[in-house]
C-alpha cells in the first residue's frame, strides 16, 4: 500500500512539474512540443519489451510485440519530425 501512495505522490509531483515546465514553452513551439511529448510518451515501450521478452504466455508475447511496434514507430517518428520542425525555426539575421 505504501508503494501505491509513493507512486501517487510521484504522479502528482510530476504533474505539477509538467505544468510549470510546459507553461514556459513559447506558443511558437506548441506543435513541436506536442510531437516531442508524444515521442517521450513512447517510453511505454519499456513495459512492452519486458512483456514480449518474458514469454509468460503466448497472448502476452503477441500483445507485447504489437505494443513494441506501436510505440517504437511513435518514438522514431516523433523525434524525427520534432527535430525537422525545430531546424526550420531561424532567427532573422541582424543587419540593421
Amino acid at each position: 500500500m505504501s508503494d501505491i501512495i509513493t507512486s501517487l505522490y510521484i504522479f502528482m509531483l510530476a504533474g505539477f512539474v509538467g505544468f510549470e515546465v510546459i507553461r514556459r514553452v513559447s506558443p511558437l513551439l506548441h506543435t513541436p512540443l506536442m510531437s516531442l511529448t508524444n515521442a517521450l510518451d513512447a517510453i511505454a515501450v519499456v513495459g512492452a519489451i519486458i512483456l514480449a521478452g518474458e514469454h509468460k504466455s503466448s497472448l502476452a508475447t503477441v500483445l507485447g510485440t504489437l505494443a513494441i511496434v506501436a510505440s517504437t514507430s511513435n518514438l522514431v517518428g516523433g523525434f524525427l519530425i520534432t527535430d525537422r520542425m525545430l531546424k526550420m525555426f531561424k532567427a532573422s539575421k541582424p543587419k540593421k
Binding site: L40, I49, A70, N74, G77, A91
Partner: protein, 466 residues
C-alpha cells in the same frame, strides 16, 4: 551468483532515474527556439538509455520477438517522421492512436497474466488504463481521418447523441467497477475494451474541423494519462512521470485552445464541443464594401512603415505561405517593418501556423502571438489578413448577441488600414458575418490568396527594378 542480478537491477533503476531527469530537461529546453533542439537530443538520449537498460532486464528470456518488433516499429516510424508540415496535425493524431494502442495492449496482457487474483487498486488502475487507451485509440484514428479528409469534416449530430455517449461510458465504468470487486470474471474484461473503442468513435463524430486543435490536445492528455496508469500497473516510476508530463502538457494545451475558442473548460472535458452554433442570421441589408486591386494594395503596402500580416488556415489551404515569404522579403528590403500575428487557433493544432511559416523561412522572431501583437495594432499602418476570418471579427469584442462574443481575437480593426484577401463575401467557418469587412478603412482584395499575394509581389518587384 545472486550478486550480478542484484547489481543489474540497481543499475537499471539508476538508468531509469537518469532517463527521467533527461525527459524533464528535454521539455525544459523546449521553452525557447534557441535551446529546443537540445531538448530533442536530451529526449533521444534518455530514451536510448531507458531502452538499453530495459534490455538488460533479467526476466527477458528471448530477444527475437523484441528485436523484430523494434525494427518493424522503426521502419513504420521513419515515414511518419517525414510527412509534410501541412500533414503534421493528422500525424500527431495518429501517434496519439499508436501510443494509446500500446498502452491498451499492455494493459490487456497484464490483466490476463494476473487474473484471477488482482488486488483492487491494481484492477482499478488496469481498467482505467484499458478504457482510456481504447477510447483514445479509436478517437485519435477518427481525428486523424477527419484531418486527412478521409472522413467527412462536417460534424455529424443526431438526437440523443450525448445520452448515447454518456450511457456507453457509464456502462463501461460500471463493468470496470464490477471487475474491481470480481477480478476473476475474465469474460467481462473484453467489454471494457469494446465499449471504449466504440465510444472513441462516437466521441469524435460530432466534432468539426475547426475544433481539432482542442480535440488533439485533449487526446494527447488522455494518451499521457493512460501511460501513467500503465506506470502504476507495472510499478514503473519512469512511466508514471513520463505519462504525467505528457498528460499535463496535453491538458495545458487543451485549456489554452478552449480559451482561444471561447469554450469553457468543462465544455471541453465532457466532449460537448463541436455543436454547430446556429449562426445569428443578421439583417440581409447589402452593405458597402470597398475593394482594391493588387496594384493599389502594393502601393499602400510600400508606403507603410509597419505592416502586420494575419495568416489563417485559408492561407495554408491555398499553399500561399511561400508567396507570403516573398512579400515579406520585398517589403523588408524596402524598409517596411513586417510582423506576423498568430492567433492560437490559426491552424489545425496548437502552434501549427508557426511551423508552416517557419517552413517558408520566415524568421521566428517576426511571429508574434496574440497577446504580444494586440497592443501593436493601433500603431500599425496596414494589417493584411490572409485566409483568416472569425479570429479577426470585432463582433467578438463588441456584440453580445454574436455567437463568438467573448472569443479573444486579433484587434485587426485597430490598425490604420485593413486589407483582407478573400475569395468572396461568404461568411467564415462559424457562418458568422464579419463587420470588419464593412469598415471605412477596410479594403477587400478579392481572389485566391496565393495568386493575389503573387500579384502584389510582382507589382512591388517590378517597381523596384524600374
Amino acid at each position: 551468483m545472486t550478486i550480478t542480478p542484484f547489481i543489474t537491477d540497481h543499475a537499471i533503476e539508476v538508468i531509469y532515474l537518469i532517463s527521467t531527469a533527461l525527459f524533464i530537461l528535454s521539455l525544459k529546453w523546449m521553452s525557447a527556439p534557441t535551446t529546443a533542439r537540445h531538448g530533442v537530443w536530451a529526449g533521444e538520449l534518455g530514451m536510448l538509455l531507458a531502452i538499453g537498460g530495459t534490455l538488460l532486464h533479467r526476466g527477458i528470456v528471448d530477444y527475437t520477438w523484441v528485436a523484430s518488433a523494434l525494427v518493424l516499429g522503426a521502419i513504420i516510424g521513419v515515414p511518419l517522421g517525414l510527412v509534410q508540415m501541412t500533414a503534421v496535425p493528422q500525424r500527431t493524431a495518429l501517434s496519439h492512436a499508436f501510443g494509446a494502442l500500446c498502452v491498451a495492449l499492455v494493459g490487456t496482457a497484464e490483466y490476463y497474466l494476473r487474473a484471477p487474483a488482482v488486488p483492487k487498486f491494481m484492477m482499478a488502475v488496469l481498467a482505467l488504463e484499458v478504457i482510456l487507451g481504447s477510447l483514445t485509440f479509436t478517437g485519435s484514428l477518427m481525428a486523424a481521418g477527419k484531418l486527412q479528409e478521409i472522413l467527412p469534416q462536417r460534424p455529424i449530430t443526431y438526437k440523443g447523441q450525448n445520452v448515447v455517449n454518456i450511457s456507453l461510458l457509464a456502462i463501461a465504468i460500471a463493468v470496470a467497477a464490477y471487475l474491481v470487486i470480481h477480478p476473476e470474471s475474465t469474460m467481462l474484461f473484453p467489454v471494457i475494451i469494446a465499449i471504449p473503442l466504440l465510444f472513441g468513435v462516437l466521441m469524435i463524430v460530432p466534432i468539426g474541423g475547426a475544433d481539432m486543435p482542442t480535440v488533439i490536445s485533449l487526446l494527447n492528455s488522455y494518451a499521457g494519462l493512460s501511460a501513467a496508469a500503465m506506470g502504476f500497473v507495472l510499478d514503473s516510476k519512469l512511466l508514471i512521470i513520463a505519462g504525467a508530463l505528457d498528460g499535463s502538457s496535453g491538458l495545458f494545451l487543451s485549456v489554452i485552445m478552449s480559451k482561444a475558442m471561447n469554450r469553457s473548460f468543462t465544455n471541453v472535458l465532457f466532449g460537448a464541443f463541436g455543436q454547430v452554433q446556429s449562426a445569428a442570421a443578421s439583417g440581409e441589408e447589402t452593405r458597402n464594401v470597398k475593394s482594391a486591386t493588387a496594384e493599389e494594395a502594393a502601393a499602400i503596402l510600400v508606403a507603410a512603415n509597419s505592416v502586420v500580416i494575419v495568416p489563417g488556415y485559408g492561407m495554408a489551404v491555398a499553399q500561399a505561405q511561400h508567396k507570403v515569404r516573398e512579400l515579406y522579403d520585398v517589403l523588408t528590403r524596402r524598409g517596411v517593418d513586417v510582423k506576423f500575428a498568430i492567433h492560437p487557433v490559426a491552424g489545425r493544432m496548437p502552434g501549427h501556423m508557426n511551423v508552416l511559416l517557419a517552413e517558408a523561412d520566415i524568421p521566428y522572431d517576426k511571429l508574434l502571438d496574440m497577446d504580444a501583437i494586440n497592443s501593436e495594432f493601433p500603431q500599425t499602418d496596414v494589417a493584411l489578413v490572409i485566409g483568416a476570418n472569425d479570429v479577426t471579427n470585432p463582433a467578438a469584442r463588441t456584440d453580445p448577441s454574436s455567437p463568438i462574443y467573448g472569443m479573444p481575437i486579433l484587434d485587426v480593426d485597430k490598425a490604420r488600414t485593413v486589407m483582407v484577401i478573400k475569395r468572396g463575401m461568404s461568411p467564415g467557418f462559424a457562418g458568422i458575418d464579419n463587420p470588419l469587412y464593412y469598415l471605412d478603412k477596410t479594403l477587400m482584395l478579392f481572389g485566391d490568396a496565393r495568386a493575389f499575394v503573387g500579384d502584389i509581389v510582382r507589382q512591388l518587384a517590378g517597381e523596384g527594378h524600374g
